[in-house]
């Protein structure tokens, strides 16, 4: 029997980029993240979690990156029959000197709750962070429908 499992779904959304340089962009990030999550068939809870994680990561860029600027890119992901969303948050800010410390709840250099990175990590299926002083920060998250 022929199978189409190896073929990506025909209705995968193309990649979208959102420039982050002001508070209004938080709403855009949430809204684009939500459309991708819904398009990929994520349930309400998985959608709410990934949209919240995206909001935390976009706010991190506003608070920490040089000039509060960065970029978020969104794309659909597929793996066999499973579909999901992937989002990458990149800035060319100062970078994080101690990534392990930044991933601990309650660690903050700006007087916030320090939940952004560790919290968003707990909300998604896949999370990776790449940062070094002077090189900026790149955080990738992925949430699957199944």
């Amino acid at each position: 029997m022929a199978t189409t499992a190896e073929m990506p779904p025909a209705d995968l959304l193309a990649m979208t980029s959102v420039a982050i340089d002001g508070e209004a962009d938080l709403l855009r990030v949430r809204s684009v993240m939500r459309s991708y999550a819904l398009q990929a068939g994520l349930g309400l809870t998985a959608t709410t979690k990934v949209v919240t994680a995206a909001s935390e990561l976009a706010r991190n860029i506003l608070r920490h990156a040089s000039g509060g600027q960065g970029v978020a890119t969104f794309e659909e992901a597929s793996s066999g029959h499973n579909r999901g969303v992937r989002a990458v948050f990149t800035d060319i800010g100062p970078g994080i000197a101690d990534v392990d410390a930044a991933m601990r709840s309650g660690f903050s250099t700006v007087g916030s709750l320090g939940l952004g990175l560790p919290g968003s990590c707990r909300l998604v299926d896949e999370f990776s962070i790449d940062s070094a002083p002077g090189r900026g920060t790149r955080v990738a998250i992925c949430q699957w429908a199944l």
Binding site: R30, T45, K49, T52, S105, S112, G119, S120, R122
Partner: protein, 131 residues
């Protein structure tokens, strides 16, 4: 008052309804507005209904918890009501579950809880006066 909110008076309580997507500036302006409205109307309680809010991230949660503390400092009770189940799950996993904040499933239950808290308070005061 921003478009994403409305304040209604119900007797001596305020019902604050939030809906839609709240950005940082909006939620902070709602915080100021509600605090001054509680003081202006000498409200005894404020219910903040978030059943129409899709996403509460750590910043919004932090401001809502701060708003509840401010209202209490003004001598009124405050509760957050109608948190959606998906939002509740998200807040717990995020680590921003606002443990010190009074909550209720709906505005109706929240109102009942505020009234019960006030009844307990006045019972305590009466008891104190008799001694």
């Amino acid at each position: 008052m921003p478009d994403q909110s409305a304040i209604m008076r119900m007797g001596r309580d305020l019902l604050v309804i939030l809906h839609g997507d709240l950005d940082d500036r909006t939620v902070e302006s709602i915080e100021r507005e509600v605090t001054s409205e509680v003081a202006r109307t000498s409200a005894r309680g404020a219910l903040i209904d978030v059943s129409g809010v899709d996403v509460i991230d750590s910043f919004v949660a932090q401001v809502l918890a701060r708003l509840v503390r401010m209202v209490r400092l003004l001598g009124a009770e405050a509760a957050i009501v109608g948190i959606r189940p998906a939002v509740a799950i998200t807040l717990v996993e995020l680590g921003a579950s606002m443990p010190e904040v009074t909550t209720a499933l709906s505005a109706e239950q929240g109102m009942a809880r505020l009234r019960r808290m006030r009844a307990d308070d006045s019972a305590r005061i009466d008891h104190g006066n008799h001694r």
